[in-house]
Each structure stands twice: as structure tokens, then as C-alpha cells.
Amino acid sequence: MSLQASELSSYKNPVRVDVPSGAGPDLSPRRIKICLACSHGGHLTEMLELAEAFHGHDTFYFCYEADTTRILPNVYLVPNMARNPVEFIKNLFRVRRIFRRERPDLVVSTGAEIAIPVVLIAKLMGVAVVYVECGAQVTHPSVTGRLMYWLADTFFVQWPELLKVYGPRAVFRGSLTDEDEPVAGDRSRERRMKVTLVQPAQVGAFSSDQPPLGLAYIAAVLERKGCEVRVIDANVEKLAPDAVVAILAQQAPEMVCFTVTTPLLPSALAIARRLKRMAYPPVLVAGGPHATVLPDDFLDDGLFDYVVRGEGEAAMSELVDQLLAGRDAAGIRGVSWIDRGRIVHNPDRPFQPNIEQGLYPDWSLFPLKRYSSLARRNDHSLPITTSRGCPFGCTFCYKGIYGRRLRMRQPEDVVAEWEHLVRRYGVHEIAVLDDAFTFDIARAIRICELIVSRGLAQVPWSTTNGIRVDNVTLDLFLAMRWAGCYRVYFGIESGVQSVLDSLKKGITIDQVRRAITLAKQAGLEVGGYFMLGNVGETATDMEATIKFALELDLDYAQFSIATPYPGTEMFDQVRRGGRLLIRSWEELATYGAAVFEMDEIDPAFVGRMFRKAIRRFYFRPRYMLHQMRELMTWTGWKHRARAGLLLVRLALFGGRAETVRTGSGGEA
């Protein structure tokens, strides 16, 4: 059964989500047992400062014998082992005995070396470990910390300076001594509302593990409001809807906000349905591209309470204010909601010509150690956008969130955030996400100059999402190279002028060649993005695009199959003149074949061309030899091994075999 594109014109959700019936999993917060391991001095003081975190759980202490520890409740005391190996061995057995009796679910330690025997036994017994490095370690790691960095499941440091010393597994998220920048005055103690931000996932499907920038901005806004914010990125953590619900049940937030692209709608709905069965269901809010184009999908059956359309920061901020004041969403522009059983779409928000200065995404809530992109040289990178919106009208591009009016941030503000990423998060690389980074060449050069003058040029970066080829100069590329840029990605899309024209891309083949030559002259690597199976494309056109990609001497190419997303002009073209071949929205995100039939576009044929493109581009001896240079670093090895496997899989099967339907929640 395939879905007729015309059926979508009613903007009706083509997704079937099981309504769970009968008794589901237990959705009440669970009481766990926590072992608190610390020595008797400052480490104990820090543990006591953290006491609030253990509220509602059972705890027992494991400490050295001292005046300060004897008065603790539920305490196991051992003699101070310092560096005595005999006492260390004895402690291993003591800990094992205690753990067998107490059966802890978790060890929390603030150090010092007393943590070592406890954590070793915990790891052997499969008990999770949270380690908080002592506040006295500012720029030098402790001996225990070095070991715990690898052993602990979560490793917190209390000064951002330590992030660089340890590495991406270390998390700086609050401190007993230091201030924490993104919050601009720690207001989380107010706990005005507990909010969890969720990026749902299509578990098993091909997806890029990009840190979700939109959510990170919302997180910063909500924390500034005094909300206690959690983030679940189910995409990078590979969490099926049930696992997300299990975490939400423990967090018990008052509000859950989802960012939803079209293929993720089924997952989001599956999670929402289960949440509605909780004794005290949270307020459910949806945002992101799909919520913006088709808000009714979320509100139809009363599942979600609010939909935030378009740019979310200001609307979310107002919504939280209103809810805290006991009011509803009346009068908040850009919000759709249910007013007395009726769906109401408040008017769109007025155009905001300026992007707020000094508001930076809060990345500390995200599982940063897990993000890794093959398109970057280094792991532990974070994205930045220096502008929002794009004035061009490409038919495949969705512009519902940031709009078609370009708003550029001040170079000083951009570079201040750049510096913040380096100092506050210790990133090893930065990804510039804008479509229109080079729209104003003078501004782009100014940004590059500021990067150099602030001493940030040693941090590599690239224009990851693809910039345009039509407005570039050698000067610009040189400035970028000197500021640490190592690779530019261009949105090339096609090697056929008539296809580019019908995509309304507004570039010429000659501009592509010129831009690549200039970038190479400046010493930059070049990556290109291409699309196959565009509306109106013929077999000859696709062949020509592959040939074009080969002759351009690119360091990197990414081919994708043209996909009409709701809200794009291409979607309307397919709706009018073709047939969309998906049974559910999540199938939009597959790589195996085209998802629509139209004119000469035959899904299986486009799939074959896609696989051919990958074979032809990447499995050239010359290209593979070229990549050998990158094997000099460990990350280079890791990335190329992963890329190799991925490419072989894509070349043989495309992505379809990998797609697992999460619409039914992936559970029995």
C-alpha cells in the first residue's frame, strides 16, 4: 500500500502508531541504592554539598575513619590506606563484601584515592559510577581522576580548564566553586519548572549524529528562565521510544519538548502516547520542521498540548512564563494549541530582524562524548551558526524555521561564541552550519580576522553544511584558511545546468569550477554535496552529475537521494505531478531508493544510481591513496575505518536494509 501524494494534501498524518493497551511498563520513579565513596576532608565537604542530588534514594557511605566521618548515617569506615598496598587489597575485599550485602545500583565518588577500590569492584559487578573531580583540581588532573576518567560512566570536572587536559569524556556542568557561563547567573536553584528536551530517533536508520543546535538554544533560554533542564538525544544515544519513556519516568518533568523532523514524527508520537499514561503526565510541546508545517499532526487527537511553530526561543520563553503564571497560550504568537477542545493557531511571530546577542546554545546538557561525524577531522566538535535564514529559493530546502530573510550576526558576537566553545567546552573542532556564511564577504573576512586576533586559529573548522559557490573570492578563502578552516563544503547538487535551474539553485557550472579552484589555491580541502533523483531529472542527467563529481578533484563528496520534505517546493511539485511512495513519514529518511515516482524518476533506478555514485567516487584507487594521508592520526584511522564500512554498505545495499520501523515503538 503506498500513500498517494494527494492524500497528503489534507495535511493528514499518514502514520499508524499503536495505541498501547493493557498494563505497560511501570512509569513511577524508582528508588535506588547509592554508595557514596569519599575520604574525610574536603572531599566529604563536597559530597555533603551534593547531598540534595541523592534525595529520594537510599545511600550508604564508604569512608576513612575520622571524626568527621564517624557521625555520618549508614557509614562503612575503613582505616586510611594512603599508599599502603596491603590496605588497598584488603579494601577490595571489604568493598566486595559490602556490595554483596548492600547491592548498590550506583557509586558516586568525589575522591580521593579511596574511590579506586570501590570503583574497581563496582565495574566488576556492573554497578554504574559517577565521579566528581575535586574542585581543587583546576588545570592539573589528580592521579585518581586520571583513572576515573576511563572507569566512570559519568565524569564531572568543576573547572572548564580541566576539559582540555582530560578529554571529551569529561563533563563540565556546574561547579561548587566556579560560575557556569551559559546560564548567565545560576538560576537553576529556583527550579521554577523541570523541563526535558527530547530529540526522538529512528533507531537503526541511517542518521547523522549531529548535536541538535535548535534544542541547545531552547535549553539556554529555559535555563535563563530558572528552569531545571534535561536533554535526551535519542538519536545519538540510540534509544528506542520505550527507553526514552523509561528515562522520562525517572526524571518526572513537568514539561517535555520535542524537536521533530518529518521522519521522526512516528517516534515522537509513540513516546507521547506512552507519556499520557503516566499518573501525572507532563505538558507536551512539539517544535521543529514538521511541527511548523503540520502542527495539526500533533494536536489532532489531543496528544500534544502545544506546538511551537518556527523559531522557538521567544515563543518557548513566553509559553513557560504563561504556564508558570497559571495561564494558557492565548496571545502567544507562533503557538498552536487546543483551546476548549478546538485547535487554535495563533498568528505567526513577527519577523525579528536581529538575533539576540550573547545567547549561546547550552551544550553542557548534551552527551558530547558521543557525537562523532565522518565529515570532520576531529571528534568532539560543536556547531555554530553565524547567520539565520537564507534568501535563495532552492526547491528542496526547508525554510520554515529560520525563514527566507537573512539575518547576520555581528562578527564580534560570533567570535565571542567561538571563543566560548573553545574555552567552555574544550572543543577540538568547530562546524559552521550556515547556508549563507559567505553571503556578505566582508563580514565573513572580519569574522576570520577576529578569530586570528583572539588566538583561536589553531582550532580547525569547516563550513559543514555547504556554502554557495556563487559569491566567493580568493581573499575570502585565504582569510578562512588563516583562521583555521581546513575544508569548505559546497552545495553543488547537480552537474547539469538545466537541473540546477529547475532546482532554483541560482548557480552555474562555471561558478562551481571557479569556486573549487579558488579554494584549492588557498590551500583548502573541498567537499561537495550532490543530489540524485531530482524532480525532472533523467538518467543522462544523473550520469552527468556523477561524472562531474569525479572530474572536480574533490577531497570529499556526499551523494544523497532527493527527498521531498513537507514544506518545500519539491514536496508540492511531487504532490501535483507525481506519487509519493511511502507508507509512513519515517520512510522519508531512507537512502535506498527515491521515495517518489514522477516522470523519469523511478525509485529503484535512482537507488542504483546512488550506489553507483558511491562506488565510482570512493572506490577509485587514486582517491583511496589520497585518503592514506589521513591515517596519521588515531581519529583519522577510526573515521576511515567507519567510513569504509559505511560506504561498502551503502554501495551494496543503500540504506534501506538498515531501516527499522519505529512507528510501532519497536516493542512487543
Binding site: I32, E52, Q158, R173, G174, T177, D178, D180, A246
Partner: protein, 161 residues
């Protein structure tokens, strides 16, 4: 009144105590020193080894200036008292500590504009006479760390055992 603390470290900190004693003798200002486990005692100052925490906090909040070693507990208390803070790190080369981590703490305090670091003990007199300004706002992200630990606990509780 100047409040001086050397923390709970088992090593002595005569460099600081002698200098403060000298300053007290010269200026006549009341100096109260918490001497801890050390064996050095001042002549011109009030002093005690340890006092209950609430007494210490009350003393600090009434001080004109707080001079402390760069132990993290002392620094936390001094900053939260919202009085001008002068931080004197214990250094390994004077056998005041086993390593130089207090230097890092003191540098961080100075770099963030929370107080003044004293490396050359002879600068202390001038620093006490012209104390550093109290930062307009100092809000350690304590609640945030508590929330982060709580987040990790919730994740563990969500896993079926």
C-alpha cells in the same frame, strides 16, 4: 578586622602567619587567625586552631578583608562571604603543601576577578591596605552540578536491573 585562615592542612604555613603578625603589629588593626594544625602562632593577633563552622562564617562576614590559603574549601567560604578576598597559595617549595595545586586555584580566583593572588608574601601588606574589590556578582553553579548529578542518577534508575 582581617580574618585569616590556613585551613585544615597538616603542614605549617609560617610564611603567612608571620607576615600577618607583622602587619597587625604595624597597623594596629585587629587580625584574627585560624591556625589549624600548624605549630606557628602569632603574637599580635587573636588566634585559635578551629572553631565551629557557624562561628567561622560569622567572623568572615564581619571581616574587612579575608586572607586565606588557596584550599578549595577556604576559597569557597571566603567567596560566599562576599568580602574582599586575598588568596595566598601554599607552595611546595616552602614545604607548605605536597604539590602546587593551590597555585592553580589562586590563579583561577585572580583570573576570574574574584580576589587577589599573593605570590610574594611582601605584597600582602599593601594588598591588605588596598583590598581588591568584591565582585559585583559571584554565583557558583552549585545547583547546576547538583542537577547534573541528579540527571546521572535518573539515568541509572531508568535502566532495568
Amino acid at each position: 578586622m582581617i580574618y585569616v585562615t590556613v585551613g585544615t592542612m597538616f603542614l605549617d604555613f609560617p610564611r603567612l602567619i608571620h607576615k600577618m603578625d607583622e602587619i597587625a603589629g604595624k597597623t594596629g588593626e585587629l587580625v584574627v587567625i585560624q591556625t589549624g594544625l600548624g605549630a606557628t602562632f602569632p603574637k599580635n593577633c587573636d588566634h585559635f586552631d578551629f572553631k565551629p563552622r557557624e562561628v567561622v562564617l560569622a567572623l568572615q562576614s564581619r571581616a574587612r578583608v579575608i586572607v586565606c590559603h588557596a584550599g578549595i574549601g577556604s576559597v569557597m567560604d571566603a567567596l560566599r562571604a562576599r568580602r574582599p578576598a586575598i588568596v595566598v597559595p601554599r607552595l611546595k617549595k616552602f614545604n607548605e603543601h605536597m604539590n602546587d595545586h593551590q597555585l592553580d586555584v589562586a590563579k583561577a580566583v585572580q583570573a576570574r576577578g574574584w580576589g587577589r593572588m599573593i605570590l610574594d608574601i611582601d605584597d600582602l601588606e599593601q594588598a591588605c591596605a588596598l583590598p581588591p574589590p568584591v565582585p559585583e556578582k559571584y554565583s557558583p553553579a552549585t545547583a547546576r552540578l547538583v542537577s547534573a548529578v541528579r540527571d546521572a542518577i535518573e539515568r541509572v534508575a531508568a535502566k532495568p536491573r
